[in-house]
């Protein structure tokens, strides 16, 4: 439809060009060029205006001339039929023999002219004494008066008086006479004056009529012309409206060479281009939409496929992880068996053992324990991934922590010919950590140090404290690492266990787990090393000071991109038989690894700190967990815990609130 209309519009545009004035218009139209851009002939409007003006002036002048001619004609020719003229002639002939009265032809002419329109002539015969013997009525019935006069010829001594009345009045005015002229000369003067007046009047009337005609005569032409123009503009306007309202558009046809015709052509051309462009746009749009739909469909299908594959992959990964977890679990029993048999033999329970055998057995025991540690590492990393690692932070001394792993480390170091030393100066504050986790971290770092140190070297485990934080370091005299290697080591930590690379063998899971364990205990791990000068791995831990714990907890929370607000509340058992230890055990298994629980000062409540967007929901979850314990294994405190209202606070207020509950130091 759009196409056909376009064709019509184009044809019309070609058919209806204005009649060529100088040929240039048609020449241009023949060529298929941008009609909209065509220029109008220069000063065209001006020429037309001047033409019109000249026409009007000519029409005016001619009309004025016609009027003058028309008005003057009766004056020049009509006196022959004028009753007053007849009257004057009759009067002259009648009064020829009257001695006292001679009518001057000039006076007569003046009289006739004067009496043409509005003056009234009357005539009267008066005697010597001045009495009116006979008088005429007013013209135009002067003939009757004259005849009456003729019948009564004036006597000797009588005279004729001719007077003028100022206006046409049918009544005969007898006395006093308006003006009476004894002699003809006076009459002539007055008549001439009147004539002059009359001609001026006539001229004025002629001019007025002329102007009036001049205005009237060209008016229809002008109107016609204007109507033509306005109709053209109206059509164009209708076309624009159609275009704007998206209605079917008929081409605008204006004949002639007017600007409106040019406008129409330009408009038709523009409209056709517009419609063509629009149709093209619609077509393109539709094509694009179809393509988008196609692509969307393809994408959708691909997405579904990908999702399915992803699901399958996730399932496979899950299965694989569960499988390896199970395998790792299953490793434990045989490892324990190997270990136990080796140590039974080593202990001589099975019979006598030679020195050499005992050494072999020790190697077996160490290898088994290495393997067992690998299994533990693997299972821990699996738990870290699932975030199900239990964290139970309590105050411990550094010596307590080191004592737990010392025998194992010592025997391992001995086996490799390495001296193991520890340097824990007195006055190191207690640390608020999960002892097992930190044991694992130190164990992993120290095991690495022992592994990389050449025989005869020393590995030093040290501790120091600074502004509330305790730093534990593991120093070796191994080959060391360059700065780049150290950075790489930590970059790999950030990538997590996925970033493990074969060339970093030995620093794999153990280091990564150590870092994660330290992180969970609110600390951070660093390494300083130089080639051939050994490495020192050190990590920070919070001391058992409330400020330090809260500050390090806040640091850990603020590291996260989402910067969740902090929830803080107290948990208190409602009955005295529930021990705080059992609550803390339960919380350690229930809370997320980031959350921190601190024992209250009066041993009757636990304070919880957690990074959460909704502290109330957090509390509700704990209530629900407690309830599930009650319904399940009959947990002794289920349902008898009381949670305070959660408080969402910033760092300072958290600290303030915690200090208000338990003071600046946590009790042991």
């Amino acid at each position: 439809m759009g196409r056909s209309m376009l064709a019509t519009t184009n044809t019309t545009a070609r058919i209806s060009p204005p009649a060529a004035v100088d040929g240039s218009v048609s020449t241009r139209l023949d060529r298929d060029e941008n009609l909209c851009l065509r220029e109008l002939p220069p000063r065209r409007m001006e020429h037309r205006f001047w033409k019109l003006l000249c026409c009007m002036i000519a029409a005016q002048a001619s009309a004025a001339l016609v009027v003058l001619v028309v008005l003057q004609l009766p004056w020049r020719t009509g006196h022959r039929h004028d009753p007053m003229h007849s009257f004057a002639q009759s009067l002259q002939s009648t009064l020829q023999d009257t001695q006292n009265l001679r009518v001057n032809p000039a006076a007569r002419r003046a009289l006739m002219h004067a009496t043409g329109t509005d003056a009234i002539v009357y005539a009267a015969i008066v005697d010597a004494r001045g009495d009116v013997l006979l008088e005429s009525g007013a013209t135009p019935i002067a003939h009757d008066a004259l005849r009456a006069l003729a019948r009564h010829r004036p006597n000797h001594g009588s005279s004729l008086r001719i007077g003028l009345l100022p206006s046409r009045n049918q009544q005969i005015i007898r006395a006093p006479l308006a003006e009476e002229f004894e002699t003809g000369s006076e009459l002539i003067l007055v008549a001439e004056e009147l004539a002059a007046q009359r001609s001026v009047q006539d001229g004025f009337v002629a001019i007025v009529c002329g102007v009036f005609l001049a205005l009237i005569v060209p008016f229809p032409f002008a109107c016609r012309r204007f109507r033509q123009w306005t109709r053209g503009l109206h059509d164009v306007h209708a076309g624009v409206r159609c275009l704007a309202l998206d209605k079917p558009l008929k081409p605008v046809v204006i004949k002639g060479d007017s600007e409106a015709a040019y406008l129409a052509i330009a408009f038709n051309d523009m409209a056709s281009r517009l419609i063509a462009g629009k149709n093209e746009l619609i077509d393109t749009n539709r094509r694009l939409e179809m393509r988008v739909a196609e692509r969307t469909e393809e994408l959708h299908i691909a997405n579904e496929k990908l999702e399915k594959q992803n699901c399958k992959l996730e399932e496979l990964t899950e299965t694989a992880l569960r499988f390896t977890d199970d395998v790792a679990h299953d490793f434990r029993t045989p490892l324990a068996v190997v270990m136990e048999f080796a140590s039974i033999m080593s202990d001589g329970i099975g019979g006598t053992v030679t020195e050499e055998h005992e050494q072999f057995l020790r190697h077996i025991i160490h290898a088994t324990s290495d393997l067992s540690r690998l299994v533990d590492d693997y299972l821990d990393s699996s738990k870290l991934r699932a975030r199900t690692l239990r964290v139970d932070r309590r105050p411990h001394t550094v010596d307590e922590i080191l004592d737990a792993i010392w025998p194992t480390l010592q025997s391992r170091a001995e086996c490799r010919g390495i001296t193991l030393a520890r340097d824990v100066p007195p006055g190191i504050p207690r640390v608020f950590v999960d002892a097992q986790m930190i044991d694992r971290a130190i164990m992993n770092l120290a095991a690495n140090a022992i592994k990389f140190s050449p025989e005869g070297c020393a590995v030093l485990l040290g501790a120091s404290s600074d502004s509330g934080m305790v730093t534990i370091s593991v120093k070796d005299q191994g080959p060391g690492m360059s700065e780049a290697e150290c950075e790489q080591l930590f970059a790999r930590f950030r990538q997590g266990s996925e970033g493990r690379r074969p060339d970093m063998k030995g620093f794999g899971l153990g280091l990564s787990i150590a870092q994660e364990m330290v992180r969970i205990n609110l600390g951070s791990i660093t390494v300083s090393s130089r080639p051939r000068q050994g490495s020192t791995f050190s990590f920070t831990l919070p001391s058992d000071r409330t400020e330090t714990i809260v500050a390090m907890f806040m640091d850990r929370v603020l590291e996260r991109a989402d910067q969740r607000p902090i929830g803080f509340f107290r948990v208190r058992p409602t009955s005295p038989e529930i021990s705080l230890d059992s609550i803390m055990d339960w919380l350690a298994a229930t809370l997320y690894t980031e959350d921190v629980q601190i024992r209250g000062q009066d041993e009757d409540e636990v304070l919880l700190l957690g990074a959460t967007t909704n502290a109330a929901r957090w509390r509700d979850r704990l209530y629900a967990e407690a309830a599930s314990y009650r319904s399940g294994a009959g947990h002794p405190f289920a349902g008898t815990l009381e949670f305070s209202d959660p408080i969402t606070l910033d760092h300072d207020r958290v600290l303030e609130a915690v200090v208000a509950r338990i003071g600046t130091r946590s009790p042991s």
């Binding site: 324990a336 068996v337 048999f341 067992s372 298994a589």
Partner: protein, 144 residues
């Protein structure tokens, strides 16, 4: 020829227990075998089982003084056996150690709630068991 050294089959000091029985239930025969001499070295009489239901039967039969139960066994779950024991007043105070390869918090809490000891099978399993027996011995002395 390397100089050989002889170790006595029994420790130098007198055994920790006398006339006491321990039930050891684990599906791994080797673990049972390796733990038996260790337990015997403490002066304990060892009753072995590789099956949960059988273990329960043996407990009722022998009335042991200690029980060591694996969690995953054929014929049942060690924790289920423990729960059954705790419902019986005769075994309400029986010292029980749960021996498992899985370090699972839920199981750990259930075990602790049922007043039993949770020991993970690892190369130091005997160390852990020995400590537990020492604690039990201490408790027996104080209660006696």
């Amino acid at each position: 020829m390397v100089a050989s050294k002889s170790k006595p089959s029994s420790p130098d000091h007198p055994p920790m227990f006398s006339n006491k029985t321990v039930l050891l239930a684990d599906d791994s025969d080797s673990l049972c075998k390796v733990l038996t001499p260790r337990l015997e070295s403490l002066g304990l009489h060892v009753v072995k089982s590789h099956d949960a239901a059988h273990a329960l039967f043996l407990i009722h039969k022998h009335m042991p003084d200690f029980a060591i139960l694996d969690i995953v066994m054929p014929g049942g779950n060690g924790i289920a056996v423990l729960e059954m024991l705790r419902t019986d007043p005769r075994f309400a105070r029986l010292p029980v150690a749960i021996l498992t390869g899985m370090n699972d918090d839920r199981n750990r809490i259930r075990t602790e709630v049922l007043r039993a000891h949770y020991i993970i099978k690892c190369p130091t399993v005997w160390e852990s068991l020995r400590k537990w027996f020492e604690e039990c011995a201490g408790e027996m002395i104080t209660s006696a």
